[in-house]
């Protein structure tokens, strides 16, 4: 029957994509020429925020010039930790203002959060292996580390993200066109206990939800559960731009007014959509998640890039 045909085609397509991911290395994903922004761990946290915003990036590898070693990744989680620390210690503004990047570990320890376990991998390892390693770490990205041939010192070659890998698959694997089963049948949507808030929720509560659940976005719904927007972890960067922490008293709706006008909007889908069209959208746009809604626009779940990648690597 048609359904059986679709089922078999999807299974074969997934296997073919896996073969592709095993046949390529992380090095293959790198453009012929690219730039990599790295920050010295002696830089002030508030300066590093300027650097990220100025370069329109949300993360950067850190370099410890004392040890001449890669010192992990700066991500939005670090700024969320600093905000939580400051919110609990409002008298410590001086310390926060003078905090250097190499002090972020102390902040993690003080507020009792798990450090982001940044795995890394050699650029010449199979892409499939890099994806597996990345799924094990919460940072949703994986640094590619090699060694200087002569001094054996570490080189941060680049950082791969789930988005970059899925885009690479969407651009290079025609088999994605055969992923025609409805995503509601694949068991990959996060539907139970989806964290959500309302426009009037204090933004600090939304930030707490992001941090305590290890998630990167919080859907915003109205009184009837209809989806209105999403508060994303990277929105935090705009909230404390310039090292100003006064806006923590804002509501989520007010904080979202900080978003720049080139924000492309929140992508939604329904359970009947297929991974073929999902991958089509990833190929064409900068989309980092799909919020699943029902016909009335009510929130029913979240489909993250992690969910999609996990299915491609391990599903079926």
């Amino acid at each position: 029957t048609t359904n059986e045909k679709i089922f078999v085609e999807q299974k074969l397509a997934v296997e073919s994509i896996r073969t592709f991911l095993n046949s390529k290395t992380s090095y293959d994903v790198l453009p012929v020429s690219y730039r990599l922004i790295v920050m010295d761990t002696a830089l002030l946290v508030k300066k590093s925020l300027n650097v990220l915003l100025q370069n329109n990036i949300v993360s950067a590898p850190l370099w410890d010039s004392q040890t001449s070693k890669f010192a992990g990744l700066l991500t939005s989680s670090d700024f969320i930790n600093v905000i939580q620390y400051y919110f609990s210690n409002p008298d410590k503004f001086e310390l926060v203002d003078k905090l250097q990047l190499n002090g972020l570990k102390d902040i993690e320890r003080i507020i009792g959060v798990e450090p982001l376990d940044t795995a890394s991998i050699h650029p010449s390892r199979p892409l499939f292996e890099a994806c597996l390693k990345m799924m094990g770490s919460r940072s949703r990205r994986i640094p590619l580390i090699d060694q200087d041939e002569e001094t054996h010192r570490e080189i941060v070659v680049s950082v791969l993200t789930q988005y970059r890998i899925l885009k690479f698959v969407a651009l290079n694997c025609r088999e994605t066109n055969f992923l025609k089963r409805p995503i509601g049948e694949l068991g990959i949507i996060t539907e139970n206990d989806v964290k959500r808030c309302q426009m009037t929720t204090p933004v600090i509560d939304a930030i707490q939800l992001l941090s305590s659940n290890g998630i990167a976005s919080i859907p915003i719904v109205d009184d009837n559960g209809v989806l209105l927007n999403v508060y994303e972890a990277i929105d935090v960067l705009g909230l404390i731009k310039g090292g100003i922490y006064n806006d923590l008293s804002l509501s989520v709706g007010e904080a979202l007014m900080r978003r720049s006008d080139d924000f492309e909007g929140v992508y939604t889908c329904t359970k009947n959509d297929k991974l073929s069209t999902i991958m089509d959208n990833i190929r064409k746009a900068r989309v980092h998640r799909f919020i699943v809604v029902d016909d009335a626009g009510k929130l029913t779940g979240v489909l993250s890039l992690d969910d999609i990648l996990r299915y491609i690597l391990l599903g079926e």
Binding site: I37, V38, M39, P123, V157
Partner: protein, 32 residues
Amino acid sequence: LATSSIKHNTLCVASIVRYKQKYATQILYAPL
């Protein structure tokens, strides 16, 4: 070596390095 003007007491230097057959512009931001 490429440099950009010092802003907010932050120095930014870069150099373009060949990594195997690809070219990485490695950019380092350091405090002045």
